[in-house]
């Protein structure tokens, strides 16, 4: 099989319990696209061998199924960092743990080297691990963002709050947090601010939009919610409606995804009350 041919397989990596991965499997099945599923739950029955040359050739075996890596035309990956129960029980340093870790590392390495198209390439996704770092890249791409302060200093926070009376705070890392507004009830917790730089942002009132860029295609949705973080609206109502992304904005968003090295990107936008 030659990469690029329609008969070349798409490599999928992750857990069969992962809903987005399952949805992609279903869609590929309906298209009749060959797949090779690297099931993370079968990591102990997985082996891999490849050369670090210009061809990156080799093979990958999961149970009795084998894939010639030079034939892979694309990959969609959603590996889970959580270890299998048997691996976790064996513990770090055990043969099982080392094998699982080696497979994850070797496959991640091959994915960085392969000429095949990799959606959600791990190195390109790395900027998600630092939201303020990602914000720098987004600004360099020409987008505005909320005024943001990272601090362990209550005094600096008060000065920032004087500039922006309404603030939110949220995680800087890829560990998901619920966006929350800073209010009087947080005053007592500010004594713990010294533990670690915390991210505070100017609250931008307005409407949320979620745009997905997939190659050259752009899909938008407008979100209606009263929650500070619509992803955790709880009992509050959340509606998502298709939204035609204006052509100039779509072009800029494609540029942003390309600048971040992402063939598949989900981008959150908020339109402020002054249409910014």
């Amino acid at each position: 099989m030659i990469p690029g041919e329609r008969s070349a397989p798409v490599l999928l990596w992750g857990s069969p319990r992962d809903l987005p991965l399952a949805a992609v499997c279903t869609a590929l099945s309906r298209l009749g696209t060959p797949m090779f599923f690297v099931d993370q739950t079968r990591v102990l029955d997985t082996e891999l061998s490849f050369a670090s040359d210009e061809h990156c050739s080799g093979w990958l075996r999961v149970g009795a199924q084998r894939c010639e890596l030079s034939g892979v035309r694309a990959a969609y990956i959603r590996p889970d960092a959580v270890r299998l129960d048997s691996v976790a029980r064996a513990g770090p340093g055990s043969a099982l743990w080392r094998h699982a870790a080696d497979i994850d590392d070797a496959l991640a390495s091959w994915l960085e080297l392969t000429p095949a198209l990799v959606l959600k390439c791990l190195s390109a996704m790395a900027s998600n691990g630092s939201k303020p770092y990602q914000a720098l890249l987004i600004r360099q791409a020409g987008f505005q963002g909320p005024d943001t302060l990272l601090t362990t200093d209550p005094g600096a926070l008060r000065e920032f709050q004087a500039r922006h009376p309404r603030l939110i705070y949220k995680s800087q890392s890829g560990i998901r947090s619920i966006v929350a507004r800073l209010d009087a009830s947080d005053e007592a917790r500010l004594a713990r601010l010294a533990t670690c730089p915390t991210q505070f942002q100017q609250y931008i009132p307005g409407r949320d939009y979620r745009v997905h860029v997939i190659g050259e295609e752009v899909y938008g949705h407008v979100i209606t919610s009263d929650a500070d973080d619509y992803r955790y609206a709880g009992a509050s109502e959340v509606t998502m409606q298709p939204w035609p992304v204006p052509v100039p904005l779509a072009e800029r968003l494609r540029g942003l995804a390309a600048a971040l090295g992402l063939a598949l990107a989900g981008i959150d936008l908020r339109r402020s009350s002054d249409s910014d």
Binding site: A108, Y133, A156
Partner: protein, 231 residues
């Protein structure tokens, strides 16, 4: 006006970093430890790195007092935060790593090696990526096949077992000490491709055989080169 400092981001138990800081303390070398990020006083407003404030060993340093940074940690680990309750250590470590990635990336002073997400110390390449890079640049390299099987303890070793190897250490584009011109040329091209400004490369008979991401700061020649690069 605070003194001008050269920060070394490292674990507090990193011997070479500590030796470097001790030896060059009067020239402003200071150790920036994970513990320092739990000090009141840090402040960085996105888009204004020049106005940021760092706290190092309890001393406040505005960004314009930092004349350079040497990064010796790829990330902050929860094991480096014994002062944080255990249940929160991994989260705090991730937050600190995220903060440093943004702050160090934006500093205008020289940073050896400037972060490349997700690593705080430049391109966090695996050995396979170095080998592939070498192939692409036409740099002779020891062939590598990565293999992971259940019946082998670890993946195939890449490094040859024939000592000695020739080491080329680059600080900026400058080799430390005398180096064979072909190897220095190879090293410069590899370092440039990786965006690395502090790097050691090992050559076996003219072929790339290994990479050192932590050149020995306790080596006087390397230390002098680092100080010169950050002067």
């Amino acid at each position: 006006m605070p003194e001008s400092v050269l920060l070394v981001l490292a674990d507090e138990h990193a011997g070479a970093a500590a030796q470097f800081v001790d030896a060059h303390h009067e020239r402003g070398a200071r150790l920036l430890r994970p513990l320092d990020l739990s000090s009141p006083g840090w402040s960085y407003r996105i888009g204004e790195p020049g106005a940021s404030i760092a706290m190092v060993d309890g001393v406040r340093y505005p960004a314009d007092c930092i004349r350079g940074v040497v990064t010796r940690l790829p990330c902050i680990s929860g094991t480096q935060l014994p002062h944080v309750v255990p249940a929160d250590r991994d989260y705090v470590a991730a937050e600190m790593s995220a903060f440093l990635l943004a702050w160090l990336s934006a500093l205008s002073c020289p940073v050896l090696n400037r972060p490349q997400a997700p690593s705080l110390m430049g391109a966090g390449w695996r050995w396979e990526q170095w080998v592939r890079c070498a192939h692409g640049l036409g740099v002779p390299v020891v062939p590598l096949r990565r293999e992971v099987r259940r019946d082998t303890p670890c993946s195939a070793a890449a490094l040859p077992t024939l000592p000695p190897m020739t080491r080329v250490t680059l600080v900026g584009a400058t080799p430390v000490g005398r180096g064979e011109p072909p190897l220095v040329g190879h090293a410069r091209r590899l370092a440039a491709a990786a965006g690395a400004s502090l790097l050691g490369l090992l050559f076996d008979g003219g072929r790339l055989a290994g990479v050192e991401l932590w050149p020995d700061l306790a080596d006087p020649a390397i230390a002098a080169a680092v100080l010169g690069e950050l002067a």
